[in-house]
Amino acid sequence: MKLVCRCLLISLVLLVLQGSNAQAQRGTAATKERFDNLLPQTMRGNNVDMWIHVLQPWNPFGEGGETDYLQLGTDSGYCIFTDRGGDRIERAVFEAYGDIRARELYDIIGNETDGMWSAGSRFAGIGEFVAERDPRQIAIDLGGISYADYRRLTEEIGEKYAKRLTSADDLLADFRPSSVRREDSRFRQPEAWTNLIRRDKFDFVLPQVMRDNKIDMWIHVIRDWDLLNLGTAAGYGVFTDRGGDRIERALFSYNDDIQDAGAYDVVNVIENSDLRFANLREFVAKRDPERIGVNFSERLQFADGVSFEDYTLLADAIGDRYAKRIVTADILVTDYLSGKVVSELVGFGQSGAAMAERMGRRFEGIKPGVTALSEIRGNVFIRDRDGRESFQDDYIIQRGDLVGTPHASAYILREGETELPPEHQGLWEHGMAVRGILRRNIFPGRTAKETLDFLIGKLEEAGYVYTDRDRYDRNLDPDKTQVHLDLHTMGVADELVGPRISPLGPDWVRDLTIPLNHTFALEYMIHMPVPKWGKGKHLYLPFHDSGVVTERGVEFRYPPVDKIFVIR
């Protein structure tokens, strides 16, 4: 009996621990198998010696959210497979921004970090890479690559190789995992979107953002993992401002599995997706829009959705007269995602509350002198008095350390200490004073840049020094505490959508106006000098709470971190 119980218990624990890991390993093994055995014959069978497969520029759904139906072992970036002879195909992946799940499958991994911010250079250097391999036929998924990406790619590889591009349709049909279709990944939309949110955004946010952007028709062609979730896996939405307080909403779906048809005034199910834009000419002509926004963008990659093939078909379908009126809808898409209705606020508020409840628990198992940073779940770090950081590594946590995560920090009491030492208490008080300054001085209506400038002024009035990098600056007044800000959007695709009150990110995000109910991170870092420890020695404390900008300033939806946790 004892033996049976023990075995059962051990098996249960092992099963739980191994379950998720094993699943990931099985996925990688299957991809390796396809790379090793299927890829060479597929490329050769299709008479292709280079295949460029362009994925999302980043994975907006976080770790574990697979974005690619082809299961190539990465959730963002682009892969280049080259047949250089022999049994094996050379495999390269670029601009994957930390989303590569199976690094061992690739021979070349390039430019992992900067891609998301530099839309113009996503394909920088690829021309040389391609020329070096001098392929005769380059397969590309014309139905998957965005219109803007296609233009950038062809520009980078030059006319010579652009002429060698060919549709990857047949190759994709041969290579995709047998049970998976592109539509499957499109069905997996962010769960936070409910029918209520969609309807309320149509009612409350859409009219304003279309008018703000002077767009009287918005055509949004759904892509894989579309952030907008129009309620169907494949198709497109056409939104027309026909006056009044409401925007006309039409959905053209390539299947009849529509989540909330009632949200639309017009619903068309298109039987033959090859003729998907066929009826649009009449539809558009009848409404005669002056400016037609379409979801392509050179600068905002999350708003860059329409594929090259779809754009071409769309422009052809609506005819020259209206094709000339097409403009990018990128800011409109940003504004639409940033403008929050109450059901969004509370939806994200509740998930945030659950996270806040878990915050302190991750420190509970720390044993000073025994526990390494790498043993604590999540993004965990320690900065020493000189600002050197140990990050999720083998560093063993010691008494006197201040262990940080973006959301909460914990101090490990030294022998004899019963509470936070005075300097740590002072550090916390600075954190609270800065929180008060930020909460009182952010309002809707100003741009992020104007707000940043305003906040810098307020911080300086209060005796702080603003720093545009998250590092202690030894050249500044050694008596003053330094503050770094990165008040980025939180909600859909976090840092990427909407105004960013921060020195970080591309310039255009600072020119966006802060909308009502803007949900964002009160992310700021305090670097407090401790002169008695010596010149340049300091303490560091980061904050990362979620706020909402209302007409009254910044409000919290759930309790923000309220202390430095103390570990005995």
């Binding site: 009996m1 004892k2 119980c5 409910t194 029918n195 209520l196 309320d200 409350f204 209705v341 109450v342 059901s343 606020l345 509370v346 508020g349 509740q350 509350a353 806040a356 409840e357 009182r440 009502l516 909402v548 209302t550 007409e551 009254r552 300033g553 409000e555 919290f556 939806r557 759930y558 309790p559 923000p560 309220d562």
Partner: protein, 413 residues
């Protein structure tokens, strides 16, 4: 065998300890939310509530069972809130313990005369009411004590504090809206569970938890009685959920299919359509700013323009146009346990003075309305009845639902 028993005992203990631990964490989390709400209300709502009521000092004597004890964060003592200019109200507790995150000053009750003189307020609100509101909470003894302590000069400046209390509670911060939603979703889950229990011909109304009712075609109501639910009944069920000083209740509707029916009958579908049409009328026409009375008048006009008859009582009016569907409204505040009656109300019900209160921004209330739809083929005066009861929020943009409102009449097989 003993070893197995030991192992089981240890496992039971572990579960028990884990359970207690989880419970204590849950209660800590709830307390943190309540603390955040309190802090934010003092920061964001209080200055506006005092200035709107032209009050520069609000004295609130809190005793053990005071309904605002949790909201004010004081167990027992005198809470003195003073507008000394700037964006913040000075907060003091004299003679008691208060939330240290909220209050700036702690002193003795004996300090009151000096404290008030030093601040020299022009109008002092005290927690009593002249119109019988629920905020008439100060005892005669305490009131005499405070007035004596203030002395003639300041006692003359004392006015009822009920309007400040109403505005302080009605004005919602974002964390309250989130909690309002959380409780709404809890209610929704409970209601679904209760409706799941219905067995036609067996389950009595009183077997279900909540406020459960059925009206017959003549409008006779069975409410939480021995009445056994029958096929063809249209059942309403309201249920509440609570957390400390917060409370919320919403409603669900179910129709019990008759033998042979596979879907809602036409008349039930039709009454649901009326419910949705009128919901849109309400959503489009309620804004922050106007009073409850002004809003009610506007809604009556809009209902009539859309072909409905508004009724003051929740009873079918046999004298009204028999072709027209009748609608009754009671949009009362919702969210807090203490202020259902003493808050802005878009309704013919409740004290008159509440109808003259302005609808504040982020007002959380209920879309409680009743549809009485005549069914002429059943005979003169025969009708169907449904009651809707969803939580909503007034924002800068109008009325928004923080969670999905009732989206159908549920069919029970």
């Amino acid at each position: 065998m003993n070893k197995v028993r030991c192992l089981l005992t240890v496992l039971c203990m572990l579960f028990l300890v884990q359970g207690v631990y989880a419970q204590s964490q849950e209660s800590d989390a709830a307390e943190n939310v309540i603390n955040l709400i309190r802090m934010d209300k003092f920061e964001i709502i209080l200055p506006q509530a005092m200035r709107d009521n032209n009050v520069d000092m609000w004295i609130y004597v809190v005793r053990e069972d005071d309904p605002l004890r949790i909201d004010l964060g004081v167990d027992d003592g005198i809470c003195v809130l003073t507008d000394r200019g700037g964006r913040r109200i000075e907060r003091a507790v004299l003679g008691g313990k208060g939330d240290k995150n909220v209050y700036d000053i702690f002193g003795s009750e004996r300090d009151l005369p000096e404290f008030v003189t030093e601040r020299d307020p022009k109008r002092i609100a005290l927690n009593y009411s002249e119109q019988g509101s629920g905020f008439n909470t100060i005892t005669q003894k305490d009131r005499d004590k405070v007035l004596k302590a203030l002395g003639d000069k300041y006692a003359k400046r004392v006015v009822p504090g009920d309007f400040v209390a109403v505005d302080f509670l009605s004005g919602k911060v974002m964390s309250e809206v989130v909690l309002f939603t959380k409780l709404g979703l809890e209610c929704e889950k409970i209601i679904e569970g209760e409706l799941d229990k219905i067995v036609p011909g067996e389950t009595a109304l009183k077997d279900l938890s909540g406020n459960v009712f059925v009206r017959d075609p003549d409008g006779n109501e069975e409410n939480n009685t021995d009445y056994v639910i029958q096929r063809g009944d249209l059942i309403g069920l309201l249920h509440s959920a609570e957390l400390m000083n917060f409370n919320m209740h919403i409603g669900g509707i179910a129709y019990v299919l008759r033998d042979g029916e596979t879907d809602l009958p036409l008349e039930v579908k039709k009454i649901w359509e009326h419910a949705l049409i009128t919901r849109e009328i309400f959503r489009k026409n309620i804004k922050a700013g106007p009073t409850g009375r002004e809003t009610l008048e506007l809604l009556i006009r809009k209902l009539e323009e859309a072909g409905y008859v508004y009724i003051d009582d929740d009873e079918y009016d046999r004298n009204a146009d028999p072709e027209k569907t009748q609608v009754h409204i009671d949009f009362h505040t919702m969210g807090r346990s203490v202020s259902y009656e003493d808050a802005p109300r878009i309704s013919p019900l409740g004290p008159e003075w509440t109808h003259d209160l302005k609808i504040p921004l982020y007002h959380t209330f209920t879309f409680e309305y009743m549809i009485h739809m005549p069914v002429p083929e059943w005979g003169r005066g025969k009708h169907l009845y449904v009651c809707l009861h969803d939580g909503v929020v007034v924002t800068e943009r109008g009325v928004e639902f923080p969670y999905s409102p009732l989206d159908k009449i549920r069919a029970i097989r």
